[in-house]
Amino acid sequence: MDHKSLKSTRMRYRRERRFKVYCIAALVLACLFLVAFLADIVVKGYSAFWQARIRVEVNYTQEVKDLPVLSVSEEVSPLISRAWFRKIPRRLNQHPEMMGTTRTQWVLASGAVDQYLKDKPNGLKQKQKRQVDRLQDQGRTKLAFNTHFFTNGDSKLPESSGIFSAAVGTLYVMIVTMAFSLPTGVLTAIYLEEFATDNWFTRAIEVNINNLAAIPSILYGLLGLAIFINYVGIPRSSALAGGLTLGLMSLPVIIISSRAALRAVPDSIREAAFAVGASRWQVVSHHVLPMSIPGILTGSIIALAQAMGETAPLLLVGMMAFIPEAPSGFTDAATVLPAQIYTWSSAALRPYAERTAAAIIVLLAVLILLNLTAVLLRKRYERSW
């Protein structure tokens, strides 16, 4: 090799190495952001999975029914959550045998006590802090696993607030979204891919669908408000209204991914089926669709995951609301996890900050699970021709 070409080869190698370094640097940067984000969330949020409790003597007397605060001694009552007190009258009605007894119970501490025990800023007065210290020395306080976080809905008392109603709401919304957008999207894709002839009309539809996949999601909220709530008359804030709105939003993604999946089925299979006299309907329903189902499902799960993390369109259909009770049907008022996260993040009281982060952890876990399913489905059923 002559000198000149040797030099140019070396330069090419060098360029390649440099390029590789750039790529790795980009990857490292992306990873850093991801790790920083996750670490921040976990550090802020993990403490919300534990909640302060105080052991007290509770007197269930007749007067407690009217004034629940009287059930415990005066000095500890300011340290206990009102969420616990206000449930006493109802509990006494349900369990009349408790009346007149004195029990030692672990009860929910107020949010300020909880934050104090976690060494975070809190609104406790000096005297109350000493009181809590004393209780702690006597072993009468503990940080127990926060079951309320998973069994309660939203609350104005941070210590008793949880994600249950938002999680159930998310479930309902996702059922509606899938029930609406999966069949509609897949059927549209089948028509466009298998039946429609290639003319200006179908091409225009295709361009429009691709376009719709990219428009800001809030526009779907406006559309949902105009059609489903104002025109059809579906109740505001209901899982039905939210689900259909998110369904509209996921349609383009589902159509596009389903079409890609259908297109991946080689023509030889269609031709073979036609050759033995199958009708177009038979070709699609017996051969093409079953073969493309893994691809369709993968796309749909990704669309579902996207819809699950969405808040903007739901704001407009009234799902960003204070809803402490889990919905019991599709037309009941509901809220969803991302909306709950947003509401907590803007709440002024300090204990909501850790709950915000904890709810993000839960949402991320569910999303990872969904995306993992998509990957596994693809791996399991992937076929090559």
Binding site: G123, P235, L240, S285, F322, A348
Partner: protein, 342 residues
């Protein structure tokens, strides 16, 4: 794959049924629906939760839409698809009342349940101070008018704003953006003042300076008090109820010559306080279970009384007489008249 197609058909049918259910269900409702002001939202949602936790009725659904947005939804008609109650941080406007009438919402009851206001406080060793809304705005605004132009706020000392004021460093600990007190500061002080000031073109201006003179402080009001005790120059902006609970530790600055007291607030003399309202659609009373009980609970002593729960959330309770009058009017289901509105 016949079964796949069959399943698809079933799902499609299910969606249609759902849609039909949705449309049909508007006519029956067992949950109270509330919309309206974000200022009233923390109080109303507290009552909602208490209502759900202590009565046999389900928890009302409450949405924060702003006073105007809420009254717009409220005035759409009397069908059960419209809200039962709209919260407002101001009185209903005449135009909104007329829209209600046009759409058949003729029976409306107005409730005033308390006040919301802010106080500017300082160290008790200070000789006392009086500020106008305009002076206060010039101290906290991000940009101020100077020689006909809006410039970055140059004021570091109060006597630069008005030579009558003492030579005292401007340092204000105030509410962060997430707080309702911040809304009150922006609306009751800045909007009120800048609308009348020349340099702002009579337009509302609400940006607060970020050069360290105004220090946004978290919810921990106790911390602000500690700062005020250390630094006599500093001032703190609190919800009024906080001042009320801590008289002796801090003292209020008079605004436009008026000292904040429960009296001056309920009479409307103190300029940085406002009435809080909600409007009830009386047509829904016998159709939505629990609606009357909700209003009863809201007006009860344990909520809006002198030592009620809402006080801890920052509400300024009304004097006893006014509370009794509100309850009386509610018992009589008094209607809003056109002449009541300005």
């Amino acid at each position: 794959m016949k079964t796949t197609m069959k399943r698809l058909t079933v799902v499609l049918a299910a969606v249609t049924v759902l849609l039909a259910l949705g449309a049909g269900n508007v006519q029956a409702r067992d949950q109270i629906r509330i919309v309206g002001s974000s200022t009233v939202y923390p109080f109303a949602s507290y009552v909602c939760e208490e209502f759900g936790a202590t009565t046999k009725y389900p928890t009302p659904v409450i949405e924060s839409t702003g006073s105007g947005g809420g009254l717009k939804l409220f005035s759409e008609g009397v069908s059960l698809g419209t809200p039962d109650i709209s919260n407002a941080s101001r009185q209903m406007k005449l135009s909104e009342y007329e829209r209600c009438m046009e759409n058949g919402v003729e029976k409306i009851h107005e409730v005033v349940f308390g006040f919301d206001g802010i106080s500017v406080c300082e160290n008790t060793d200070n000789p006392g101070l009086n500020l106008t809304l305009q002076e206060l705005t010039l101290a906290v605004a991000a940009r101020v008018p100077r020689d006909g132009k809006l410039v970055k706020n140059p004021y570091d000392y109060w006597n630069q704003i008005n030579s009558q004021l003492p030579h005292r460093e401007i340092l204000i600990y105030g509410p962060p953006t997430t707080s309702g007190t911040r809304d009150a500061l922006e609306e009751l002080v800045m909007v009120a003042a800048t609308k009348k000031m020349e340099g702002y073109d009579n337009r509302a201006y609400t940006s607060i300076r970020q050069d360290g003179v105004y220090v946004p402080s978290g919810e921990n009001d106790n911390l602000i008090v500690q700062r005020l005790n250390k630094n006599r120059d500093a001032m703190g902006i609190f919800g009024y109820s906080y001042l009320d609970n801590n008289r002796g530790k801090i003292q209020p600055v008079n605004i436009e010559g008026v000292e904040p007291t429960t009296q001056s607030i309920s009479s409307g003399k103190y300029p940085v306080a406002r009435d809080l309202f909600f409007y009830v659609k009386l047509d829904h009373l016998d159709q939505v279970p629990g609606l009357a009980e909700y209003v009863d609970l809201f007006l009860s002593r344990k909520m809006i009384g002198d030592r009620g729960y809402l006080k801890r959330q920052g509400l300024i309770p009304m004097p006893k007489k006014m509370r009794q009058q509100q309850r009386q009017e509610w018992q009589e289901r008094e209607l809003v008249q056109k002449s009541d509105l300005e």
